[in-house]
């Protein structure tokens, strides 16, 4: 293990504290907002720059400590970037579907209602 130079330590501290702070802010948003569609914006802070800050801090630390480029943390970043749209889109569509089938007033109605395409959740096939 090599000693880490001062500039590396300072850059590491900025990256990791910034990333963790953004993730924490996202969790605060998730806990405090009063509507589901507002809450869904919270975790995207953690999955964008919160994640990037911590991943880059880890890559920087291991690169400096081991004296060779360590890049495998980038895989986590790529994985999160690819999967987050899928989970959030499925989740928000499920919430939209549930709100619509309950007739919630503050949710936009679908453009054209085709009854055959969207079975109600309680119909057993």
């Amino acid at each position: 293990m090599n000693a880490i130079p001062l500039w590396g330590a300072i850059a590491f501290a900025i990256l990791i504290v910034g990333g963790a702070g953004l993730t924490l802010l996202g969790c605060i948003g998730l806990a405090r907002f009063n509507a589901f569609y507002a809450r869904i914006h919270g975790p995207t802070l953690g999955t964008s720059f919160g994640m990037v800050g911590i991943i880059f801090a880890s890559a920087l630390y291991f690169t400096l400590a081991e004296g060779r480029p360590v890049m495998h943390e980038i895989l986590i970043a790529a994985f999160v970037v690819i999967t987050t749209p899928v989970t959030l889109m499925l989740l928000s569509r499920a919430a939209l579907h549930r709100d619509r089938s309950e007739g919630a007033p503050d949710v936009p109605a679908p453009r054209r209602r085709i009854a055959a395409r969207e079975p109600q959740p309680d119909t057993k096939i």
């Binding site: 802010l25 802070l45 964008s48 690819i82 928000s92």
Partner: protein
């Protein structure tokens, strides 16, 4: 080319992923990674996905930088909303955006862009009407958001996937 390599980008990306995961670029790992990438490409061919038509792929570099700048900006904006209006955002609301994009790969990229920038969440896309339903955390000016999506992202995606 198309028989052995139906999805060259997928094959190259998976091989690269394997090499990064193993943290070595030795011949053995290269062969193993190529085997994984090639078999995954062949397996994906049997799914029968439609291939995206590339127009000007080099424009993607410009798009990456535009999106990175927007991610920084919207991170700050959402953090500010959480800090100042913690209980209920003032003007959060739904937004309908008419889109000209129809290519499924381009729409997938647009969904990644919109989800990666905090403050916008993709709800659903109506393919017949070509209309996208979004939820925006800070919906001060609807026209500005529609302009942002159509002029900044959609125009470039239309150029990339001609």
């Amino acid at each position: 080319m198309t028989r052995i390599l139906p999805h060259p980008i997928l094959t190259i990306a998976l091989t690269l992923f394997w090499l990064i995961l193993q943290q070595s670029a030795s011949v053995g790992n290269l062969i193993l990674g190529l085997a994984i990438g090639l078999s995954a490409g062949l397996a994906t061919r049997s799914l029968g996905l439609d291939k995206p038509k590339m127009g000007k792929p080099w424009k993607a570099v410009e798009l990456v930088f535009v999106v990175l700048a927007d991610i920084v900006r919207s991170n700050a904006a959402v953090a500010w909303v959480i800090l100042t209006h913690g209980n209920s955002p003032r003007v959060a609301g739904f937004l309908r955006v008419p889109l000209k994009l129809r290519d499924h790969t381009a729409l997938a990229f647009l969904s990644i862009i919109l989800t990666a920038t905090p403050g916008t969440v993709w709800l659903e896309f109506d393919e017949e009407a070509g209309e996208l339903l979004l939820h925006v955390l800070d919906l001060v000016d609807e026209e500005q958001w529609i302009d942002l999506i159509t002029k900044r992202y959609e125009r470039r995606l239309l150029e990339i996937f001609a």
